[in-house]
């Protein structure tokens, strides 16, 4: 038995066999042992054959589950795998003394550079297919090829260095018992997805990959941030007991879901859910959400070779609107950027993707794609109250432009005789200091504001939450962030509009009294956090919450803020 500690990222416990998921790293390529050229050539041929078998299997699965047009990308990959001159070049480099992995890497990088030089943006992006195929061959060459995360046959605990957004999208949610990553924090993508799907997760577990093996039993405790290798009988018993407790807690929470979110002195606040997949509207209802405050639409767009068409988007949005049965659903338009690239959208390499073409900026650059989403949203609004929210806004002009396209989409649909709702609410996400400081002016042009505390913190503190060396500066409870939030609330209320928080902060019960005191009208969080936050709302007086907020706003450091909040709780 060996114990590892990390950051508790998604609650729950699970025991199961480990599945190590790795991407081949360049380091592995450089250190790869090299045999005589003939042996390296044989290894290459075997890796090519295995890659072909993989691709044919994936293509078949994609055709079956997604349709022929979606499977076309794997045809392109197979064509590259059978590209005679390319693999001849690899063989020539092996004959010249390189190891097979080095030769594959060198040739792939050479052509990837040629792709990058092309003027045609679409063709330039095809370099990604080549690199994808090269990665697959390298995985086989380096013995790192396991089953993909989308094609698991038995329940496993996935252990990885980190998971990219596109990898998390392909997770087979029915087979992943728990998730463990070496890097990342509570707001990294893997953590958010794990919580959304209700999969226990521990992140930031240093060096675990080098100390475990595939198939070894792992216990993952997503509440305590613990991972135990080959747990003993006592640990297993404890887990069985915890599972029983969790079931009982869930029953209790179901009872509480019926109670109103109201302070002791009778003030109401709206508690709503963040979801990323239509299926999660089930969880939202189960935990008593009064609506959906943030439906992230990215997942619909990621991990696929072509964008979803209007019908597919409409079906997803309408599913949520219908399921919420009259409770308002706020849908955020596509929010991706250079850190979550889409295969079919040429984004180009950016030195600073977080300051680049992302969120609404990207949508405005691709009006055709944006229009499809806006049309689908209007059509879904026919089934119930719906809000449209624009992400990553830094200026009023962007909002004006987006509103114009939204109106155009409605007029088009009406002209075509397609049923649309009589109105949708329009909102802006406040994620940049610029938007926060212009909150009143923005609020005058829209129906509501929603503060995305994760990005607002990142852009205010100028600290990347995924960079372990500066993540200590990423403090959602920093007075700088809280003062901006207060400023936004005042601006929105002056314009007579409501304002909510839809970042991680909204789901932290410790912050609930503070957020109430700051005057937020709506808190939107992962469904699983709703019961704890509601319990907190029901235990405070608004008058005290306001006093607390006033005191907190005078703090000088995040530490002082935390002390004041903890004091209140004690």
């Amino acid at each position: 038995m060996e114990e590892f500690s990390g950051i508790a990222a998604s609650p729950g416990v699970a025991i199961g066999p480990a599945l190590i998921y790795r991407r081949p790293a360049l380091e592995g390529v450089k250190g790869a042992a090299s045999g005589p050229a003939s042996a390296e050539l044989a290894k290459l041929d075997e890796a090519l054959q295995r890659s072909r078998a993989d691709l044919e299997q994936i293509k078949e699965r994609a055709e079956r589950e997604l349709g022929a047009s979606e499977a076309a990308i794997y045809d392109a990959h197979l064509l590259i795998l059978d590209d005679p001159p390319i693999w001849e070049e690899v063989r020539a480099r092996i004959a010249g003394g390189l190891s097979a992995p080095e030769a594959v890497r060198a040739v792939a990088d050479h052509y990837a550079a040629r792709f990058r030089e092309l003027e045609d943006e679409y063709l330039r992006e095809r370099g990604a297919d080549l690199l994808d195929v090269a990665d697959r061959v390298l995985r086989h060459l380096l013995g790192l090829a396991g089953p993909g995360l989308g094609a698991l046959t038995d329940p496993v605990v996935v252990v990885a260095r980190d998971l990219s957004p596109s990898e998390t999208v392909t997770l087979d949610r029915t087979k992943v018992l728990a998730l463990v990553t070496e890097t990342g924090g509570p707001t990294s993508h893997a953590s958010i997805v794990a919580r959304a799907l209700g999969i226990p997760a521990v992140v930031g577990v240093r060096d675990i990959l080098s100390r475990i093996e595939n198939g070894k039993e792992l216990l993952v405790d997503g509440d305590a941030g613990r991972v135990v290798l080959e747990p003993d009988a006592r640990e297993r018993e404890a887990v069985a007991k915890r599972e029983q407790e969790i079931r009982e807690r869930q029953k209790e929470e179901a009872r509480e879901a019926e109670l109103p979110a109201q302070t002791l002195d009778g003030e109401r606040v709206k508690l709503v859910a963040n979801i990323g997949h239509p299926a999660e509207s089930e969880a939202a209802c189960r935990y008593g959400a009064e609506g959906v405050g943030l439906y992230r639409t990215e997942f619909l767009f990621m991990g696929r070779p072509a964008p979803p068409d209007e019908e597919e988007q409409y079906a997803a949005y309408a599913t949520v609107v219908k399921r919420m049965a009259g409770r308002r659903v706020i849908i955020r338009t596509l929010d991706v950027g250079g850190d979550k690239p889409l295969a079919y959208l040429a984004m180009g390499a950016e030195a600073n993707p977080f300051l680049g073409l992302r969120g609404l900026r990207l949508s405005l650059e691709n009006p055709a794609l944006f229009k499809v989403q806006l049309r689908a949203l209007w059509r879904a609004s026919h089934h119930g109250p719906l809000g449209v929210m624009f992400p990553m806004v830094s200026s009023l002009e962007e909002v004006e432009l987006a509103r114009r396209l939204l109106t155009e989409a409605r007029d088009e649909l009406r002209k075509e005789g397609v049923a649309v709702g009589s109105a949708v609410e329009v909102g802006v996400m406040i994620e940049t200091p610029a938007a926060a400081l212009m909150a009143a002016e923005l609020a005058e042009r829209v129906d509501f504001l929603s503060i995305g505390t994760n990005d607002l913190t990142q852009y205010t503190m100028a600290a990347d939450r995924l960079n372990e060396r500066v993540s200590h500066l990423y403090q959602p409870l920093h007075p700088a962030v809280l003062r901006l939030i207060r400023f936004v609330v005042e601006g929105a209320h002056r314009a007579g509009k409501w304002v909510g928080v839809c970042g991680e902060l909204a789901g932290d019960p410790l912050a609930t009294p503070l957020l109430l005191g700051l005057g937020l009208d709506e808190l939107s969080m992962s469904p699983t956090f709703l019961p704890a936050v509601k319990r907190m709302v029901r235990s405070v007086r608004m008058a005290q919450a306001r006093e607390l907020a006033a005191a907190v706003l005078r703090s000088r450091t995040a530490e002082e803020v935390r002390q004041r909040l903890a004091l209140r709780r004690a």
Binding site: A76, F115, R126
Partner: protein, 83 residues
Amino acid sequence: MRVTNKSGLHARPAALFVREARKFQSAIKVRKAGKEADAKSIVHLLTLGVSQGDEIELEVDGADEEEALGALVELIKAGLGDE
């Protein structure tokens, strides 16, 4: 000859072209603006960067060269599968 289809030699038209070329034994080269590509290589062909209206040159050399040239010219004239 001139490539007239809407998207030039984009992924799908290029794939069609490569598959056709691979049916023949002859060595087939595609040239554009001084650059040369092996017609049986999708990577070569895509990195040649052929857009609509570009002038390309085909060179076919081998036992079935005439058939090969005829089939490829026909394919380009027919718009490479574009609608």
